[in-house]
């Protein structure tokens, strides 16, 4: 089957610093693909390359079998949706207006929406459970509610691929699981390919169908969660002591941090 995303030898530099070096991987259609790695390993940069926000300085990138360069910006926006980490704005759009913005890649220059577009927006808001907030202003919402609005906007964009940049960052546990369940529902029910950057290895293990582990801009490991998330490779990537065992609730690994006081038995604590 044709891959949703096929990356070959991607490379990116900020100034002189090589942020991503020779990254090659493929995301199959319908994957829940999670990119993990420590801070500064290039996770977000990689996601921005995939979304076309940054341009790779080497290698090639194909979306749905077509090279990225062959897409116009608008065509790309009909193929890939990007959910940013946080949109800070002093311009209080309502939730419905923000979700409707997702229709603009499909509309003319003024983005005047028709009945069909408005129905799609209502449906997307229903799916992410923000329909009751439709008339509220974006800057009045909590972080979790905002994320669900952006996800509704991405659904409204009707793309086969949705990219998310740490959607669970700064959310409490209930909202984290709500967002992840929502994305899983999208992937399973609507066959949407989900690519997510996550700082949370346990969420990645629980939800990811495939996991990519980055370290210092290089691809360290790629595969099923239980293949990638061994304590050797995780300790290598994150540089701290970890305990990795099987999760008591399913067939995926569970990662536990090991505090320093448990490392040496002769420790005084």
């Amino acid at each position: 089957m044709q891959a949703a995303i096929e990356a070959r030898h991607l490379e990116y530099t900020y100034g002189r610093e090589l942020v991503l070096n020779d990254i090659s991987f493929a995301v199959s259609k319908g994957d829940f693909f999670i990119i993990i790695g420590p801070n500064g390993s290039g996770k977000t940069t990689l996601l921005k390359l995939l979304s076309g926000i940054f341009k790779s300085l080497a290698g090639s990138l194909a979306i749905d079998g077509q090279p990225l360069q062959s897409y116009s910006r608008k065509m790309l926006a009909r193929t890939i949706a990007y959910v940013p980490q946080m949109i800070q704005t002093d311009f209080p759009f309502t939730v419905r207006e923000v979700v409707l913005m997702g229709r603009s890649p499909h509309l003319g220059v003024l983005g005047l929406e028709g009945v069909k577009d408005r129905d799609l927006a209502e449906e997307a808001m229903g799916f992410t459970e923000v329909a009751h907030l439709a008339k509220r202003k974006l800057n009045e919402l909590s972080g979790g509610e905002c994320q669900r609005v952006y996800i509704a906007r991405a659904i409204c964009q009707q793309t086969g691929i949705i990219l998310l940049d740490e959607p669970t960052a700064s959310l409490d546990l209930a909202h984290q699981v709500r967002i992840m369940d929502l994305m899983e529902k999208l992937q399973k029910e609507r066959k949407i390919t989900v690519v997510m950057v996550s700082h949370d290895v346990n969420l990645a293990a629980m939800y990811g169908s495939r996991v990519l582990l980055l370290k210092e801009g290089r691809l360290l490991n790629l595969g099923l969660p239980q293949e990638v998330m061994t304590f050797e490779s995780l300790e290598d990537a994150y540089g701290c002591r970890l305990l990795v065992d099987a999760s008591p609730i399913g067939s995926f690994p569970r990662i536990t941090l090991v505090p320093e006081r448990y490392m040496k038995p002769e420790s005084t604590v």
Partner: protein, 335 residues
Amino acid sequence: MNQTPPNLLKKILITTVVALMFFLVTVLLGISIGSSGKTLFSVFEWLAGKGDADPMLHTIIWQIRLPRVLLAAMVGASLSMGGLVFQALLRNPLAEPYILGISGGAAIGAIIGILLGLARFPGVTLFAFVGSCATLALLLMMTSGSTILRKDSLLLSGVMVNAFCSALIMFLVSITQDARLHNIIFWLMGDLGMVGMGQTGILAGILLPCFIVFFLLSNTLNLMVMGKESALAMGINVQVMNIILLVSTSIMISASVSYSGLIGFVGLVMPHLLRLVLGSDHRVLVPACIFGGGGYMVLCDLLARALPRQGEMPAGVVTALIGASLFIYLLKRAK
């Protein structure tokens, strides 16, 4: 669904019609009140075609009041639009052409043009355009990179650019000693009483294409307000759009400044007021801002003409009194 979402096209049309009506009322007031004592009633008579009674009135309206009102309207519309566009592009609700120093840059260019003895159009306007582009480039350089998102740094840069422009203007004024001095000073303060119908026509010819560009790009502005990356991911070519919008704004502001001088804070009042009532959608805000800003400026000019017992004061005094108060209030509220 128990409620149908509001229809955007209808909202655009209704707000445009309401703003247009407000605008027409202010124009009517503007041509009805003046030092000659001709009142609203006689102007209605004139409008109704019973002008045979008073040829004086015809002359006063056609040659003095109407050009002045139209100039005020166009300047108000373009400064308000300038505020709206800068606020969206810089994602800062306190941005405004005067506060950012863009108007000041245009004024420097215009003064140089006047001192060189050039005609108002195209000479002075062209110089003003170069001046506004130079200050814009300076401002963007000072705030480039991540700092542009920080409100304080942008405003501070604007204040500095503005201070620099003011100093240059003072320098230019102080080395001018002949009869042009009085003209320059009065023009600088924002005087609207020096043009005829022909010149308002030229100004309209410059502004109209800019307004059309802004309306066509109003949805792009919506997407760009949500951040550069978000706009890119929505299929917007951010770099190209930035350049088109900044250049059109510069053309519009410098044309206005070269005809009206420095009128400050207009770009703050209307966008804020309209956003409060209409929300943040630029497809609604752009037409509302053009007519609303025009009407607001006509009213300010009317106050400037009517308030003093003798003579009149520049309209820039009124707009600054209103706008600066609003600015202080908004700044305090933002903290």
